[in-house]
């Protein structure tokens, strides 16, 4: 059920104090942002570019020894994960725009994934981050495929949604491109009366196909053909390597994101209740709708710091590697005002996601009763 915000929310005065505390954390962190952050993101980009180049090289060297092929897949998967998570996602949130670097800039950056960066940015930053977990408004909620809350009435197809979930994770980049970014808006046809598109459907359509064409060319044609110059079976070795690297990346991003919003205690909201929210109320909803998980520093980097999904939703444009420190402070503030703060180990959180997908495969008791009568 969507959370009844009005009756659960702390009173206005408390929320105001809460808002001020959270603002303070942001100000303190932003005061520290500078040269170190520029060095940090450039270092991560260097690691990503190196593993991209070495990975592709290594795949071809698989011709001499299969161990190279395995290393190649691992490096390529690492490159794609870093590119999508710590680099692309965060840059496109504008976290590094202050650097004024034309290549590390939310206006220009595009990532190594099917979904076109510019289209993704327009919708994700606006819709998902404003209407987080509001049923009917947040397109990320279940990606239009999964029933993850009883606010959505059960339909027979939900019986198989565990399979749907497995498929979605395996082909997550298509899921993102199709559902979140553009596809559905182009093909499904019904423009919503109240939604004002920042770009025309024609532009969306063009970006959608243009990006997929480029990605298909690169991963399934160009690099395999290049390898085929050595010997023709290498075409399939490289093609398979590229696909497996994408597959690993797809599962990784999907799992990280699901742990951010679809854990057992992550709450959902009703649109009407979120109108005219104050900043404090908005903060409050962001915290209830998101969940964190712990890990080592390297682990956080691989998740693009979406392991700190709560902080990401509170401060989407603060350079993400500050989130771990901010999380400690945010958790303290939440404790002070008795506001639930959803965190745990990755395994724990992921288990609750799996349970949630399974649980809502079945109709609620009322629905069952209604169906019988």
């Amino acid at each position: 059920m969507t959370t009844n915000l009005a009756s659960n929310r702390p009173d206005a005065e408390t929320l105001k104090a809460f808002e001020n505390d959270l603002n303070k954390i942001r100000e303190d962190t932003m005061a520290k942002v500078g040269e170190k952050d520029a060095r940090y993101i450039r270092k991560i980009i260097r690691i990503q570019r190196s593993s991209d180049i070495l990975g592709r090289l290594s795949l071809v060297l698989g011709f001499f020894n299969p161990l190279f092929w395995i290393a190649g897949v691992a490096l390529l998967a690492l490159s794609k994960i870093l590119d999508n998570m710590e680099i692309g996602h965060n840059i496109m949130h504008g976290q590094y725009d202050w650097m004024n670097d034309p290549h590390i800039n939310s206006r220009k950056f595009d990532w190594d994934i099917w979904g076109d960066g510019a289209s993704w940015k327009r919708y994700h930053n606006h819709e998902h981050h404003t209407y987080t977990n509001i049923i009917g408004k947040d397109r990320d909620y279940g990606y239009g495929l999964l029933r993850l809350s009883d606010d959505i009435s059960w339909r027979p197809k939900n019986r198989f949604q565990f399979i749907t979930y497995t498929l979605l994770s395996s082909f997550f980049q298509f899921g993102i491109a199709y559902h979140e970014v553009a596809g559905e808006r182009i093909f499904a046809g019904k423009p919503k009366g109240n939604s004002i598109l920042p770009i025309s459907r024609e532009e969306l359509k063009h970006s959608f196909f243009a990006k997929i064409k480029k990605q298909v060319f690169k991963e399934y044609l160009f690099f395999p053909l290049l390898a085929a110059l050595i010997s023709w079976p290498m075409f399939f070795a490289v093609l398979a390597g590229n696909m497996i690297a994408e597959f690993i990346r797809n599962w990784w991003t999907s799992s990280v994101i699901f742990c951010g919003h679809f854990t057992e205690d992550a709450q959902t909201f009703d649109e009407a209740e979120c109108e005219n929210e104050t900043r404090g109320e908005w903060y409050y909803r962001q915290i209830l709708g998101s969940s964190n998980f712990d890990g080592s520093r390297k682990f956080h980097i691989l998740t693009g710091h979406l392991s700190c999904q709560i902080e990401h939703h509170l401060y989407p444009d603060v350079p993400a590697h500050h989130y771990v420190d901010m999380a400690k402070q945010v958790q303290q503030v939440c404790g002070k005002y008795n506001i639930p703060y959803n965190t745990g180990s990755f395994a724990q959180q992921y288990w609750t996601v799996v349970k949630r997908v399974a649980k809502y495969s079945f109709p609620t008791e009322q629905e069952q009763a209604a169906a019988v009568s």
Binding site: P102, H103, K214
Partner: protein
């Protein structure tokens, strides 16, 4: 014309290929972070220059002597014309900052030595100019753009039989482009004298140079030396503290044949406004008045009411007071939006943004925009009434 602007099919194809493989419009953009490990400060969109010397000219003015880098990986820095400026890019606290400075040395000097000079006045409240003085030392690397700007002497003049007469009006650090022009004329003259004998034609130049006090005049000795080398150059040093700003009396007193001369003005914007006004009153044709100022021009808004600026993509609105003349860039930053920006004076076009509707005043061209959807430069646009931006 179109053929020049539109990239060729091969260029388009190459760019598509690079996009497909690297998600960057050029391979060098993708590789830049790796290239920088070997070649510090290397960037795809600017040239590298090494600081050779930092020389103090006066208490509040210094000269950076730069050597644009050449080599395997560095593209050749393009030639410039005396009077042009460059963007100097430095990274302060991780953020790239751009400032425009006139090149104060001549192209002839660059050809001879491979060096260019920037003479920089320290802005007391400035964030960057004092910092550069402290930060840069011989050996430091900076990024520079290619030279730009059309504040230049007509290039063919030297070969005209009846040389055109010029009036240069400088205010304070506005002397820098003139130093370049005069140095260029003198060096060319010396070279021509060698080949043609003493009879080669000279440009008749009168420099009217305003400074705040007569104790400290930038490049005074040097200019006096030029005056000796270059016979048809006259320099009037004017102490604006004592004699005030430019006015009709000054023109008559120092350069009575001003009506025959083409004017070039460089200095602080109030001085430029004043000089233009004075010249206009004497009915000097506007195509005979050239001017250059760094720093977005101040403007007077005549009949604007309180206006609302809507930053559509960020969903923020700003109500600006009647007498405020902040640029849209400043207003966006005030709202916590961080648009890409560069020089902040309407030169580098980095802060281009789509205006959905409304009228803006361009402080550089002194023109009002159309009301419809168009691209504007945020840093030199002031909202006139309600404006909607795609930002």
């Amino acid at each position: 014309m179109n053929a020049l602007i539109q990239p060729s099919l091969a260029q388009k194809g190459w760019s598509w290929f690079s996009q497909a493989l690297t998600q960057h419009s050029s391979f060098s953009g993708y590789l830049q972070p790796l290239i920088q490990m070997l070649v510090p400060q290397w960037t795809t969109d600017a040239y590298r220059a090494q600081v050779v010397e930092v020389r103090d000219e006066m208490a509040d003015m210094y000269t950076l002597v730069l050597k644009p880098q050449t080599g395997l990986i560095d593209r050749q820095w393009p030639e410039f014309i005396a009077g042009q400026f460059i963007e100097l890019m430095v990274e302060k606290d991780g953020a790239r900052t751009l400032r425009c400075f006139s090149i104060s040395s001549s192209p002839a000097y660059y050809q001879k030595t491979g060096l260019i000079e920037l003479s920089i006045r320290i802005q007391q409240q400035g964030r960057i100019t004092p910092w550069i003085r402290q930060q840069l030392e011989p050996g430091s690397l900076v990024n520079i753009s290619q030279a730009q700007g059309d504040f230049i002497l007509p290039e063919t003049m030297l070969y005209r039989r009846k040389a055109e007469k010029l009036l240069l009006i400088a205010g304070g650090s506005g002397i820098t482009p003139f130093r370049s022009m005069l140095q260029q004329q003198t060096m060319q003259q010396l070279a021509m004298n060698k080949s043609m004998g003493e009879s080669s034609p000279q440009l008749d130049i009168h420099l009217l140079y305003y400074s705040r006090d007569d104790q400290q005049v930038a490049f005074q000795q040097e200019l006096e030396q030029l005056q000796q080398d270059y016979k048809s150059l006259t320099i009037s040093f004017v102490d604006s503290e004592k004699e005030g700003f430019i006015c009709a009396e000054h023109l008559q007193a120092y350069c009575s044949d001003y009506l025959e001369r083409t004017a070039f003005i460089c200095g602080p914007s109030p001085m430029i406004q004043q000089a233009r006004k004075v010249l206009a009153e004497f009915e000097v044709a506007s195509d005979k008045i050239n001017f250059e100022f760094f720093g977005a021009a101040p403007i007077e808004i005549e009949n604007s009411e309180q206006g609302v600026v809507l930053f559509q993509a960020s969903e923020k609105t700003l109500v600006s007071e009647k007498d405020k003349t902040n640029t849209l860039l400043e207003q966006a930053e005030e709202m916590g939006i961080k648009p890409v920006s560069g020089c902040r004076i309407g030169v580098c076009h980095q802060c281009i943004c789509k205006k959905k509707s409304g009228v803006v005043f361009n402080t550089r061209t002194q023109e009002y925009s159309d009301t419809g959807c168009e691209e504007i430069q945020l840093c030199i646009s002031v909202a006139q009434g309600d404006v909607v931006l795609d930002l």
